[in-house]
């Protein structure tokens, strides 16, 4: 099937962005409206496509649109072409839907910022790039969107780049992403060299004939790409710093959409991972590590946004774990991705709302007892909270529970390890999220005298409410009759694998709920029953200290990459100057020196000149003599 309207999905926000950037200050008054409309109309197009898709039967739902031949060199042929299938439509709706809500939210949130127009231009740019990422019909098209969102993310994290730390955070994000991009580009190269194509359909076709080794290589490289974009271990360090961006950005990019691109990539490449078990296992391992990693960091953070960021990292860990579990897990990874998109975006917007009311304070130790002052925020945030810790019937319950279940179903030692990790993660999640909610909304007031907490304007809370609705309902809808799984089946499930059941689903659910209750209980004991201090206590265990420092991730990067890198660079600068250029200058000096030395043969004494002639004559005779011997 082809469709001519796919391009509008991307074109609308792209044009919006271009207009806003080029129009300059002239667009200050209406820029945000245009951007919101652009994003909104893209959502409408998405809905239209969705309705069209529903009208068709399962196998024919995917549509494509070829725009033009992009690169065609020898056998390397890549079209600028879009493809919308069951998987991408989920993303399209999430991106444009949540995106539009966040646009609306930002109108109010950013109303005092002089550069609001620019902010909206970036937001639109992000929407366009993200849509390209999920709509591209080949890895190379995806790559364009992939780096495009990286650029938008960089621009938005550094939106207030007059603060040096924010500028640094933006740079850090970009560079960590670039390392991931390196993986993606290598994956594409390997794919072209071994399979002769880089389009999804082509690779899918060829993957059956390809050697496992090649597919494993591609898979691992794709995983590297995913770790960069989705802040997974070991490229996770940038996400916490990325909270430097305005909060709507954190909600949209660093919670709901962009950071989940890694999950998309892996699910999209299911045909590669399914044929490359080693790579698949590595995906699962990375997911498992990160879900704990993020959760542990989340326990120690006092900065509300950083705590949420750590939680995002952890939740994406779940998704990656799910995606790494093969056909059984793809659908649940995507489901968790979607539900997470709702509740995490909602919570971030809630956090933004809190900050909005608290003069941009982010330290939870300066909050407390805010529920009375911000009832709507508290309510929507609370729903998100319930969703994330997996309380039924909120969305998170359905999705996370399924991932844990699938993890156990992986079977054997693998199943036990992944399953227990996921369970443990659920408990920790419950703990730190409870801690977060308590420190913010409950307990004693610890805010500054100047602060006047107040509820946010309607433009801000309406999106929050809508997202809260999603947090409540989405999980149920997706899992009702396995609707999402069936919907995605044509894309991600080829053959049905035999599932090993280590534990029955019911047991898993009960276990999970028990552990969640445990986590909540501990948090309540620790933070509601005892007074929360305004200053973070210093005399804490070494583990807390390490967790506060993000499990030493920055220290590690600095010690292993940054400082040696700087040293090497400095050394190379010297080498260039003294060794390579030195050699050049040395040759010059040697030439000049030998000139000066030879010059002394010219003594000025005519007798020595005569001597030269005499010796020369003798030399001539002698040489001729020798030659003729």
């Amino acid at each position: 099937m082809t469709s001519n309207s796919l391009v509008y999905l991307i074109a609308l926000p792209l044009i919006g962005s271009a207009v806003l950037l080029l129009a300059g200050r002239r667009a200050d008054r209406w820029g945000h409206v245009l951007a919101t409309l652009a994003s909104g109309s893209s959502f409408v197009v998405g809905l239209y496509q969705f309705s069209q898709m529903l009208a068709r039967s399962g196998e024919e739902r995917a549509v494509t649109q070829k725009l033009f031949s992009w690169i065609s060199v020898g056998s390397f042929k890549v079209d600028a072409a879009l493809m919308l299938d069951q998987l991408s439509i989920c993303f399209v709706l999430l991106i444009t839907g949540v995106g539009t809500l966040i646009h609306i939210y930002s109108i109010a949130y950013m109303s005092h910022d002089l550069d609001r127009r620019r902010f909206f231009a970036y937001l639109n740019l992000f929407i366009a790039a993200m849509l390209l990422l999920v709509l591209g019909d080949s890895y190379l098209n995806l790559y364009v969107g992939w780096e495009g969102v990286g650029l938008a993310s960089y621009l938005l994290i550094g939106f207030w780049n007059q603060k040096p730390t924010y500028a640094t955070a933006a740079k850090k994000a970009f560079i960590a992403n670039r390392v991931g991009d390196l993986g993606l580009s290598l994956a594409i190269m390997i794919s072209f060299a071994t399979l002769g194509t880089v389009s999804f359909s082509g690779v899918k076709e060829q993957a059956e004939h390809a050697s496992t080794g090649a597919l494993t290589a591609i898979g691992i490289m794709l995983l590297v790409a995913a770790t960069g974009k989705s802040a997974q271990f070991p490229l996770q360090a940038w996400l916490g710093d990325a909270m430097a961006g305005p909060t709507p950005v954190s909600a949209l990019i660093h919670a709901a959409t962009m950071v989940t691109a890694g999950v998309y990539l892996i699910v999209r490449s299911n045909f590669i991972f399914d044929a490359a078990p080693t790579a698949q296992l590595m995906v699962a391992i990375v997911g498992a590590i990160t879900l704990l990693f993020g959760a542990i960091i989340g326990m120690a953070k006092d900065d509300i946004k950083k705590a949420l960021a750590a939680s995002t990292m952890s939740q994406i860990g779940y998704m990656i774990l799910g995606a790494g579990l093969g056909p059984a897990g793809y659908a649940f990874a995507i489901m968790h991705l979607l539900t997470h998109g709702f509740f995490k975006a909602g919570m971030f917007l809630g956090a933004g709302s809190v900050m909005h009311g608290m003069d941009d304070e982010v330290n939870m130790r300066r909050f407390g007892g805010l529920r009375k002052f911000m009832p709507i925020t508290f309510a929507t945030f609370g729903i998100g909270y319930l969703a994330i810790i997996g309380v039924p019937p909120f969305a998170g319950f359905y999705s996370k529970d399924k991932i844990i279940e699938v993890a156990f179903n992986a079977g054997g030692v693998k199943g036990w390890i992944f399953g227990c990790t996921a369970l443990l993660g659920a408990a920790i999640t419950a703990f730190y999220m409870t801690r977060l909610v308590i420190m913010t909304f409950a307990g004693n007031k610890r805010w500054d005298a100047k602060a006047h907490p107040h509820e946010s304007p309607a433009l801000m809370w309406i999106p929050m409410v809508l997202l809260a609705v999603g947090s409540v309902a989405s999980g149920f809808i997706f899992s009702q009759g396995n609707s999402l799984r069936n919907w995605l089946a044509p894309v991600v499930e080829h053959e049905h694998e035999v599932e090993v059941e280590l534990l029955s689903p019911a047991v898993v659910s009960i276990l999970a709920l028990l552990l969640v209750a445990l986590g909540v209980g501990i948090a309540v004991m620790k933070y509601l029953r005892t007074e929360v201090l305004r200053e973070a206590p210093e005399n804490v265990s070494i583990f807390t200290k390490i967790a506060r420092r993000d499990l030493m991730q920055d220290a590690f990067n600095e010690a292993v990459f940054m400082r040696p890198g700087q040293k090497v660079t400095a050394a190379l600068v010297d080498i260039d100057k003294f060794v390579i250029d030195g050699a050049v200058r040395g040759v010059a000096r040697l030439t000049q020196g030998s000139g000066s030395a030879l010059r002394t043969t010219q003594t000025g004494y005519v007798r020595s000149y005569a001597m030269w002639i005499l010796l020369g004559a003798i030399g001539l005779v002698a040489t001729i003599w020798i030659v003729t011997l």
Binding site: F68, V73, A80, M189, I190, T194, A210, T569, D581
Partner: protein
């Protein structure tokens, strides 16, 4: 009349007109220079429309006997690769003139002389890309140095004289080695059916492998110095540092392409076997250039030197693509030459404007420019993104083609080279952070943003970068046949996907 000859004569005519002007009429001189370069650009585009892109034979061919005693002809004719480079030089020239409107003011000589030199240089550049006679090529190759030498030495800043001399000596050294090789070719051709310098005839010469290797080295070292490839690069940072921005654009953007162009058109075509022999070495040098240039760029404290080192890295990519001996690599390298011209032009011009306003090109002297001069900052940012090959901008297409093309034959080299894209992010983002972001530092508060002339100059450059990023076909369609041709002339064909060999093996069973 031949298109190429007309194209080459226009700037020369402009130079003549300029030389008749009184030195005082500076504005008129600038206008004449601008009109001339615009005319060249127009004619070049018109010529490009006449180019038959699927024809791999040289086009717009014209030959006049020049020095019959030595079998030398004034012979011109271009293929797709040369066409693209001529387009590059023709399109950049008006930008340089417009962007560097006041550049000549601080020079040692009059404004008029500056533009005369620029126009003469343009003629020579067109000549060097058009020549289909090795001797003629060499003449342009060497004679080109003189105007550049005076441009750097006369209109640069800082240690300009020293930089100019370094540039000239380096280039002359390479040129003389090439001369020795050309003499070798000449003598060989004389032994095998009459003296000639026609490339097509020379490519059929029989020679022993030792001779071929030596002659190849003569050419290659000259080109490697010009390009420049590590370790022959040390003249470039000095030259770029000292030259006026417009000159640097011509130097790095256009002139250095003669080196990589020569590798394709002379090294591969004339010495296919030697090219094969030396490929591992050259690939190694190219990879070193990529990483080394990038690392040094990171370590620079000055914008101009930084850009120079990024170019060394980029030239590494181009060289890599050329010697990967695949269609993708070759086409990518050629496209890279074009794209690098534009992105470096943008970087240099904006950096030049920044330096002119601030009176310094040291990165740490800037800070927070994005708040003060948003348009200038944006232009720089945009150019920087192009330099780090952001997808959607033109350099991405070329860089990726080079990497893909290299990977199919030399995977290890491609993987190492790919790390260049991470380093690229560092060398672009670090200066952006220092100069454009952060609080506005003292000395930068009252800098003025781009004026209309500067906007007009930079806008087309950025537009080209953007448009070609999404739609490179117009150039690729012209380059591909030529690239394929030169690969096959060198006796190579693209490696097949390994899976194809698997499946055919299966069929064989």
């Amino acid at each position: 009349m031949n298109w190429l000859i007309i194209l080459g004569l226009i700037p020369l005519a402009g130079a003549f007109v300029l030389s008749a002007l009184p030195a005082a009429s500076e504005l008129l001189a600038k206008r004449i220079a601008l009109v001339t370069t615009l005319a060249v650009a127009g004619v070049a585009i018109a010529m490009a429309t006449q180019f038959q892109r699927d024809n791999v034979d040289p086009q717009f061919v014209q030959s006049y006997s020049w020095i019959p005693t030595f079998g030398i002809n004034f012979a011109v004719g271009i293929d797709g690769i040369a066409l693209v480079l001529i387009l590059l030089s023709s399109l950049l020239a008006p930008v340089v003139v417009l962007a560097g409107w006041n550049e000549a003011a601080g020079g040692r000589w009059s404004v008029k002389t500056f533009y005369i030199l620029i126009l003469i240089l343009q003629t020579m550049i067109i000549g060097v890309f058009s020549a289909s006679d090795v001797f003629l090529f060499y003449v342009f190759f060497e004679a080109m140095l003189i105007p550049v030498y005076f441009l750097i030495g006369g209109y640069g800043t800082g240690a300009r004289a020293a930089a100019a001399v370094k540039f000239l000596l380096y280039s002359l050294f390479g040129g003389l080695l090439m001369l020795a090789a050309i003499i070798g070719l000449y003598v060989l051709s004389g032994e095998q059916g009459g003296h000639t310098f026609d490339i097509a005839a020379l490519s059929n010469l029989q020679m022993s492998s030792t001779t071929e290797n030596l002659l190849f080295l003569g050419f290659f070292i000259a080109f490697a110095i010009k390009a420049p490839v590590w370790p022959f690069h040390t003249w470039l940072p000095d030259a770029a540092d000292s030259a006026a921005p417009g000159t640097s654009v011509l130097l790095l953007g256009v002139l250095d392409k003669v080196g990589t162009f020569g590798m394709i058109k002379y090294c591969l075509v004339l010495f296919p076997n030697a090219s094969k022999t030396f490929t591992p070495l050259i690939i190694t040098l190219a990879v070193i250039s990529i990483i080394y240039g990038a690392m040094l760029a990171i370590g620079q404290k000055d914008f101009k030197r930084l850009i120079a080192f990024t170019s060394i890295s980029h030239f590494g990519f181009i060289t890599l693509g050329i010697f990967a001996m695949t269609t993708q690599g070759q086409s990518g390298a050629t496209l890279y030459m074009f794209n690098h011209g534009f992105s470096t032009a943008a970087l240099f011009l904006v950096a030049g404007w920044m330096a002119a306003r601030r009176g310094s090109s040291t990165i740490s002297d800037f800070g927070g420019l994005q708040r003060v001069t948003p348009i200038m900052a944006w232009s720089f940012f945009f150019a920087g993104m192009s330099s780090l090959a952001l997808p959607g901008l033109s350099s991405f297409v070329s860089e990726f083609l080079v990497l893909v093309g290299t990977y199919t034959r030399y995977p290890v080299a491609a993987i190492i080279a790919a790390f260049g894209i991470v380093l690229a992010a560092l060398y672009i983002l670090i200066p952006i952070q220092r100069a454009l972001h952060g609080p506005t530092t003292p000395g930068n508060e009252s800098l003025s943003d781009l004026n209309l002339r500067e906007k007009i100059a930079i806008a087309p450059v950025l537009a080209v970068i953007l448009v070609l990023g999404f739609y490179p076909s117009p150039l690729l369609n012209v380059i591909n046949p030529a690239a394929q041709h030169s690969i096959s002339q060198a006796g190579f064909s693209d490696p097949l996907p390994t899976i194809e060999t698997h499946s055919t093996a299966k069929v064989g069973e």
